[in-house]
Symmetry: C2
Subunit: 300 residues, 2 copies
C-alpha cells in the first residue's frame, strides 16, 4: 500500500460488530475501533452510515484520513457502489458509495466484506505473490473469493456463494454446505446431538482432541464437506493457494491436515493448491476496505 494521499480508514460492517482501522501508506495499522452493528430495522442502512461516520470521526482525531473504504456483507455490486441485498442486515439496493460520500466529503471506496478480505490477504497476507488465489472464510457462513492477477472476481456480486450449495452430508440427505461446515453449524450440530451447550466450534474442536465421538463425527462431516468444496474450487479455478479464514481457521492441524490430505488424495492434476490459514485474522475485511480507499487516492 503506497497511499500518496496520506492515511486512510477502512470500515468492515459485520453481522454483530463493525470494525474500523486507520492505516498508513505502508499498510501499518495506526489505530482501530470497534462498534456494535445496528440490529436489523427499517433504517439499518442509515444507522450503519451513522456508525461508520462516528468511527471515521473518532479515528480522524488521530490524523485526518485521505479517503474511506466501507465493506458490507451480502450481495454487493462494487461496479455500481450498491449493496444489493443482505438477509442478515435486512436491506436491499442501498447506494452506500454515494450516500457515504455525501455525508463524509471524502473519496469513498465501497465493496464486499469477503472480496475485500481476499484483496487484503492477497496484498498484505497469506496469498501474496499468488497469481490465482482463493480466500475461503469459514465462520457463521461460508463463501469464497477468487483473486486473479490481482483482481477479485465479483460477477455482479454473486460469485463465491458456495455456502448455499446443497451437498449430501453424513445423514445422506441434501443440506446446504454452510449448514454442515460453517463454524456455527459445527457447534449447533454438536449441541443438537448431545444436548450439551458448547462455546463455539473451538469448543467442539477441543472435544475432538479429547476423543469425544460425537464431536469427532460432527467435525469429520464438516471437514469432509469443506474438502468437497475445496476439490470443486480447485478444479474450476486452479488456485495456487487457498487461504482459509473465519473462526474455523484457528483450528490448526485438526482442520488443515485433513484438508491438505483430501486435496492430495482426490486431486490428480499436477497443480495442487497450498491450503493455509489466513494471516490477517478478523482484520482482513477492514484492511481490505482500507485498500479500496487507498486505491482511490494513491498508487498501491
Amino acid at each position: 500500500m503506497d497511499n500518496a494521499g496520506g492515511p486512510v480508514v477502512g470500515v468492515d460492517v459485520g453481522g454483530t460488530e463493525t470494525k474500523a482501522v486507520l492505516v498508513d501508506a505502508s499498510g501499518t495499522v495506526l489505530a482501530q475501533r470497534r462498534s456494535a452493528t445496528p440490529p436489523p430495522s427499517s433504517d439499518t442502512a442509515q444507522r450503519v452510515l451513522d456508525v461508520t461516520c462516528s468511527l471515521v470521526a473518532d479515528l480522524s482525531e488521530h490524523t485526518a484520513p485521505a479517503a474511506v473504504g466501507l465493506v458490507v456483507p451480502g450481495i454487493v455490486d462494487e461496479s455500481r457502489g450498491v449493496a444489493v441485498f443482505s438477509e442478515n442486515l435486512g436491506w436491499s439496493d442501498v447506494p452506500f458509495a454515494s450516500l457515504l460520500g455525501e455525508r463524509i466529503g471524502l473519496p469513498v471506496g465501497f465493496g464486499h466484506d469477503v472480496r475485500a478480505g481476499a484483496l487484503a490477504e492477497h496484498r498484505l497476507g497469506a496469498a501474496r505473490e499468488a497469481s490465482d488465489a482463493v480466500f475461503l472464510p469459514v465462520g457463521t457462513g461460508i463463501s469464497a473469493a477468487h483473486v486473479h492477477s490481482g483482481r477479485v472476481l465479483a460477477a455482479g456480486g454473486y460469485a463465491g456463494e458456495i455456502g448455499q450449495v446443497p451437498i449430501e452430508a453424513g445423514e445422506r440427505r441434501r443440506i446446504r454446505l454452510e449448514a454442515v461446515a460453517s463454524a456455527g453449524a459445527i457447534s449447533r450440530r454438536y449441541q443438537d446431538r448431545t444436548g450439551t451447550p458448547v462455546a463455539g466450534a473451538a469448543d467442539v474442536a477441543r472435544r475432538v482432541a479429547e476423543g469425544d465421538p460425537v464431536a469427532t463425527a460432527v467435525w469429520d462431516e464438516a471437514v469432509d464437506a469443506l474438502g468437497g468444496a475445496l476439490i470443486w474450487l480447485t478444479a474450476l479455478l486452479a488456485p495456487e493457494v487457498v487461504v482459509v479464514g473465519g473462526g474455523l481457521s484457528h483450528a490448526g492441524p485438526l482442520l488443515f491436515d485433513p484438508l491438505t490430505r483430501r486435496v492430495e488424495e482426490d486431486w490428480n492434476l499436477q497443480r495442487k493448491p497450498r491450503i493455509v490459514p489466513a494471516a490477517l485474522g478478523d482484520r482482513a475485511g477492514s484492511l481490505g476496505a482500507a485498500l479500496l480507499a487507498a486505491d482511490l487516492v494513491g498508487a498501491t
Copy 2:
C-alpha cells in the same frame, strides 16, 4: 472479428481429428478442411505440426492467410505458448507457438481447445453479450472454461478440469465426473450394464425416449452428476449463461430440461444462469483458434 490483416486460419487438434477453418474479417468461414490427428508416438508433436502446416497450405490456396491460430487439448499454458501435457496425445512441454511460427513464417496464436471454444462461443456464438459465461463441453471428457469480461481464465492452464472431480454417483462409490457424465461414459455404462453395443450417447438417449429402464438409469445418473457440477460452478462463478457443448449438447430437452430444473430447484440466489446449447458445434475450437490468430493481426 475485424481482421484488418485479411483472413486467418484456425486449427483445432482433437483426439482423433484435426479441423481447420479459413475465416474472413467478419467471422465467416470461407473454407474448411479436416485431417486425421496423428496417433500418439514418440514424435506426435512434430507430426501434429506437419498436419497443421499441410492444412494451412491447403487452405492458403484459396487465399493467403495473415496469421494462424493453433489450439490443442490437455494442459496448455497460453502465456508461454507451451503445451504442458496431454495424456491422450502423449506429449509434454512442447513450445508449439514458436515451433509453428518458425515453420510457417506467419504470426501464430496458440491456445487451449476448450478455452478457444469458449472465446468463440462468447464472441460469435451462444454466450454473446454475457460478461460472465461458462463453456462446458461434454464429449469424450468434461471440462469448463470461464469467460470473464471477454477473457478466458486459464490459471496457468489448470483451470476448469472438472471432469477429474470425484463424485458419488448412483452406485454410491467415488468415481470421477467424466466417468459418469461424459458422452463416452454414457454409452460405455449402458453397454457394461446390458451387454448391448450402442452407437454413442445419442443412441442411449434414443433408448431413454423409448422407455428403456437401463438407458434411463444411466442417463439420469449422468444428468444428476452434471447438475451437481452446474451448481458448483454457478456458486463459484455466477455466470449469466452456461453454454453446453460437445456431443451431449445435441440431446435437446432430455438434457436441458432437467439441468435447468436442477438450477431452479437447487440454487436459491437471485442470479441463475441460463443453460443453453452451444451455437458453433464442433467448429468452436477451430473458430476460437482463428480468433487467437485474428487478435494478433487486427482489432477484433
